[in-house]
Symmetry: C2
Subunit: 244 residues, 2 copies
Amino acid sequence: MTYCVALYLKDGLVMLSDTRTNAGVDHISIFSKMHVFEEPGDRMIALMTAGNLSLTQSVVALIQEGVELDGEVRTISSVNGMFQAAQLVGAAVRQVWKRDGHALKEQRVDFDLSIILGGQIRGDRVRLFHVYAAGNFIEATADNAFFQIGEHKYGKPILDRALTHNTPLEEGMKLVLISMDSTLRSNLTVGLPLDLIAYRRDSLKLETRRRIGEDDPCFKEISDGWSQALREAFRSLPPPKWAD
Amino acid sequence: MTYCVALYLKDGLVMLSDTRTNAGVDHISIFSKMHVFEEPGDRMIALMTAGNLSLTQSVVALIQEGVELDGEVRTISSVNGMFQAAQLVGAAVRQVWKRDGHALKEQRVDFDLSIILGGQIRGDRVRLFHVYAAGNFIEATADNAFFQIGEHKYGKPILDRALTHNTPLEEGMKLVLISMDSTLRSNLTVGLPLDLIAYRRDSLKLETRRRIGEDDPCFKEISDGWSQALREAFRSLPPPKWAD
């Protein structure tokens, strides 16, 4: 399984993914699910992937090699805006479906894939998309300021409560790490290390890129601090009155 | 969907269920998923059900009408211990499977059903079981002090962090209400009102039984208080240092 989360903030983007891939419990590997295409001054585009690894790796390869889009072959380095980038990823997904879909169906393997795509290209604004297995996609807005893929439920309550489009970038990093921490604790198929990026609007280069391992002191501080803060928050609430 | 949670505590049991049943988003009803069989001084047995309502209602009916168990017809009022109560529920599930399983399969409807069964019968200790759709069951222990059925992921992180077998009964009630509150906020198919019971070990009668509606001041206090406490806990944590 996988957990990836991306925040669409007034100040930019924050994206976090785990790295655990498993095909059964005794076949666990580390694969980065975070793919960054950065040309400082021109574009910063990041992709996070969930689902069948053979499918998502194919999509990531195709958008670099080139996919036909409206009669022209485009790559993630040549698309002229983030909407076109989303179309490119969608077209790559459909190409993989065309190639692998039938054979998977015959073996009763789901065409299981979902992708979060975020970034900014010079002349365009910051945009964040969620691309589905059919190659269609939706875009984040100020009202819907986050996307999650994979094992998303454990980490959703804190986002539902604490996130708005106006959350600052640093707070956003804290928030996705807490959301991930809840997921790591409750589901074994999501695992360290983590890949974190933060992008500040209009900078056209990454502000933060970080691989977070087990011994990362910052993550440990947030993880332990959050556990303690939660327990204290719990203790501080009065028990329901009808218990008296 | 449904969310039900039960705590197996040193002091007794706490059980909480929602009441929303939906067959599509425009067919939403209120059905109690909490069934209490109490004979003060002799037994307090409670069942919470998730899954296909036609199946779970049949199980609840059968355990009252009688099911054959080891050559004798037993009911939930005549079983002589909680282990036999779990066997009775399992046998009822299998009887429903025998009656409905084939027809459901032909219509491609899952035999979707799960049950939490908790209580105490005079001469026996407090026990808590999770009965599956095949009629088999597992029992809670001090190391695994809670069971959840239905939409369980949103409400699991706080249980993973704050619950132990030694949590007092009143704290347990607070905890399940917080766990439910997280679920209600993140998933529309789980809805108020709630049914809450608390049972104190060896009392052989319910200590608390409560239907909690939208305007319940205690639940509102916990829900609002928890939101605020969470936001404060979040604010109190420093942002990751690499953000500086």
